[in-house]
């Protein structure tokens, strides 16, 4: 009984105007203080624990998701005020389609409603200067949701200060596979021919005529000169002919006369950056901080490619709907501390090298 009274008194106190004002000031000051140190440019959140929170508080699952959305709004505010450039959140996994249908539908409705509200007051995000991007497999979304998503992305496109990436039906393996596929596609479509005033056949002709030994050869080249558009190729590019597709063993260069020759960019030029640029997160700064709530210590198919290098990964015990500045502050401060330590570790090394 006394417990109940205590919690009620506490709530009454926290909701009283002076306490509220003080808390508000405190938050402002803390966020302002954080910006004095280094700030991660790209933060990813895996919003886990909405359902377990709902279960432990005896409310409906979808209620839990709604509270989770409120937590997201809080966190976004903190991030953007601190100066984080890109926030990536895991809203819905492709695996989540295995959940009960009413929950999936509820989540879709939630996403649709929130995005619709976002569109209705577009200047809202303008104040934060944030643009929305939706990362994921689009063909898994239902058409009505897809339409809203596209509209939301279009209305916020011109905001440049910050980016909110919503991963929605997303898995990282799907992302990597898509990146590989689009890289392959890019490298196996012929680049558009440069419009060059120089014709290769004319040059060969000139050379041959200078040598002036065989007129028959010359005529044979003239015959083939109205060949399909040829492109200049650098030595970094490989040649393969489409006739090689019929006889894959025959060396591609043998089919002379320049007909049907397709020039592909060299596959050896593909690097990790190439794949980076084909990921959904192309153009975002490298991931500095990865936060997963609810005490589960797994990545669960989220940002695998982005976070496996020197991202600092934090697994927190609290559920996502509870997540607030008080949970996020220690993470940020610890990150800043590690950053400072790393700088210190690097500095003496540099000094030794100079000496």
């Amino acid at each position: 009984m006394s417990d109940l009274y205590l919690s009620r008194i506490r709530r009454w106190f926290l909701n009283s105007p002076p306490a509220e004002w003080a808390l508000c000031r405190l938050r402002e000051v803390l966020i302002g203080a954080l910006t004095q140190g280094p700030i991660p440019r790209h933060v990813a959140f895996e919003m886990d624990g909405n359902r377990r929170y709902a279960r432990s508080h005896k409310i409906e699952t979808i209620e839990g998701h709604h509270l989770g959305f409120e937590a997201l709004a809080r966190v976004l505010e903190i991030c953007y005020k601190c100066g984080v450039k890109v926030v990536t959140v895991y809203a819905f996994s492709i695996e989540n389609f295995n959940r009960p249908k009413y929950e999936v539908d509820g989540l879709m409705q939630l996403a649709k409603m929130k995005l619709e509200q976002l569109i209705q007051h577009g200047e809202l995000l303008e104040r934060y200067g944030a643009s929305v991007r939706v990362l994921g497999q689009r063909d898994l979304m239902s058409p009505d949701v897809l339409e809203v998503v596209d509209r939301a992305v279009a209305t916020t496109k011109h905001n440049k200060t910050a980016i909110l990436n919503i991963c929605f039906p997303y898995t990282s393996r799907e992302e990597i596979t898509t990146a590989i596929r689009s890289t392959v596609e890019e490298y196996s479509t012929t680049p558009r021919p440069h419009s060059t005033p120089f014709s290769q056949s004319r040059i060969t002709q000139k050379i041959l005529s200078k040598q002036g030994d065989n007129t028959e050869l010359l005529s044979s080249i003239r015959e083939s000169s109205p060949s399909p558009p040829e492109s200049r190729f650098d030595d970094a590019e490989s040649i393969s002919s489409s006739s090689a597709t019929l006889h894959p063993d025959s060396p591609p260069l043998k089919s002379g006369a320049g007909e049907n020759v397709t020039i592909y960019p060299n596959a050896e030029n593909i690097t990790a950056e190439t794949i980076d640029n084909h990921l959904y997160t192309a153009g975002c700064p490298p991931l500095d901080l990865f936060v997963r709530t609810s005490g589960v210590e797994r990545l669960s198919d989220f940002m695998l490619w982005q976070c496996h290098q020197d991202t600092h990964i934090f697994f927190l015990k609290c559920f996502w709907p509870e997540f607030d500045l008080w949970h996020f502050l220690p993470v940020l401060v610890e990150w800043q501390r590690r950053q400072k330590q790393r700088d210190q570790d690097e500095k003496p090394g540099r000094r030794v090298k100079q000496a």
């Binding site: 105007p17 938050r27 000051v29 803390l30 302002g32 203080a33 004095q36 140190g37 709604h66 409120e70 005020k81 996994s93 492709i94 695996e95 295995n98 959940r99 209705q120 007051h121 809202l124 303008e126 104040r127 934060y128 990282s172 393996r173 799907e174 990597i176 596979t177 590989i180 890289t183 392959v184 490298y187 196996s188 490989s238 393969s240 090689a244 597709t245 894959p248 596959a267 050896e268 593909i270 990790a272 190439t274 794949i275 210590e297 797994r298 990545l299 669960s300 695998l304 490619w305 976070c307 496996h308 290098q309 020197d310 991202t311 600092h312 990964i313 502050l329 401060v333 800043q336 501390r337």
Partner: protein, 332 residues
């Protein structure tokens, strides 16, 4: 920013019944928004003038100084907290390592493991090469740690172990590592230890048959153990290499890009590198993957002991304990 009591209630009611119009919602939100950014040049100029008017930015300067002060205080308190936490964890780790020690006897490790509900089939660890000048001390320690972990795995009955080390130095000394591990197994198991095979992707493997002895007294043969050595080039670079191969195939029209599926990539990477490990153990103080193969850690349980430094049996044991309690939900 905390909300006053009424607003969240109204907001949640709206969430449920969708009763508000857009204008009402904006009215609800307005007090919590930051001031709009100056959009036109005249507005920007006005903002600048206002700033200038406020005593040449004294107010802003004071605010920044105040924030800096708070920043310093927060960091000071936080370092104090970290120190205390590190000390606390160091004590706990010491207690654990005294309480759980293997004494190089497989039976003790088996007894520890027996109570666990499940064991990983494939354990993965990340080791770090500590740079002790240019000598071979770092390498020696690394090989020693690898051998220790392999022996614990063999004792616990974990059939597959992969050891990731960023620079790939272990792969360069494959035969030496192999010898060190088999020697370590002898010190644990005596002359009739488990069969050992050590290999690394793209390097021919070395296999040692189980040492032929007079059979164990209790008749139970220890399970064979496979050790896989990984380095940073088995991570991103392997995916890049796969992309190159696929591109070449596509350029020769041996493959259409629509054939590239998750299953294909997964099968290829499984074949050439390794499958998904069940448990990944880190022996560092915090979670940083330092280039570990990204494709394979999708559902891997990641274990680390906070503020722990160095390889120890207690970390290994606690990792196994934690793993036996973890549940997989697969997105459901």
């Amino acid at each position: 920013m905390p909300f006053n009591t009424q607003d969240p209630k109204a907001y949640r009611r709206n969430d449920k019944f969708d009763t508000m119009t857009a204008e009402e919602r904006i009215k609800l939100l307005k007090p919590y928004l930051p001031s709009p950014p100056p959009r036109t040049s005249s507005q920007r100029a006005a903002a600048k003038a206002r700033e200038k008017k406020s005593l040449f930015g004294v107010r802003r300067f004071l605010r920044d100084e105040f924030h800096l002060l708070v920043f310093t205080i927060v960091h000071a308190f936080f370092s104090l907290y970290i120190r205390i936490r590190q000390a606390y964890h160091a004590v706990i780790n010491q207690v654990y390592s005294i309480y759980h020690y293997h004494h190089r006897t497989p039976e003790l490790i088996q007894r520890d493991v027996k109570a666990l509900r499940r064991l990983p089939k494939h354990l993965s660890v990340i080791l770090k090469l500590e740079d002790y000048g240019r000598g071979s001390a770092g390498l020696e320690r690394l090989v020693n740690e690898a051998a220790d972990i392999a022996a614990w795995c063999a004792s616990a009955g974990i059939p597959e172990l992969s050891i990731y080390e960023k620079t790939g130095i272990l792969k360069g000394y494959l035969p030496e590592t192999q010898r060190a591990i088999s020697q370590k197994l002898v010190t644990y198991f005596g002359p009739n230890g488990p069969a050992l095979s050590v290999h690394a992707p793209h390097i021919p493997s070395v296999e040692l048959p189980a040492l032929q002895g007079a059979g164990r007294s209790d008749g139970s043969e220890p399970k064979p153990i496979t050790v896989l050595l990984l380095s940073a080039e088995d991570g991103r670079d392997s995916i890049v290499d796969l992309t190159k191969t696929l591109t070449e195939m596509s350029q020769r029209s041996k493959l259409s890009s629509a054939d590239i599926s998750i299953e294909l990539v997964d099968a290829e990477l499984n074949e050439s590198i390794m499958g998904e490990p069940d448990l990944l153990m880190l022996f560092g103080p915090h979670v940083e993957l330092s280039g570990y193969p990204p494709w394979q850690i999708r559902l891997t349980e990641i274990f680390h002991v906070p503020d722990n430094q160095g390889v120890g049996y207690q970390v290994f044991y606690r990792g196994l304990c934690q793993f036996s309690h973890a549940q997989m939900r697969m997105g459901r």
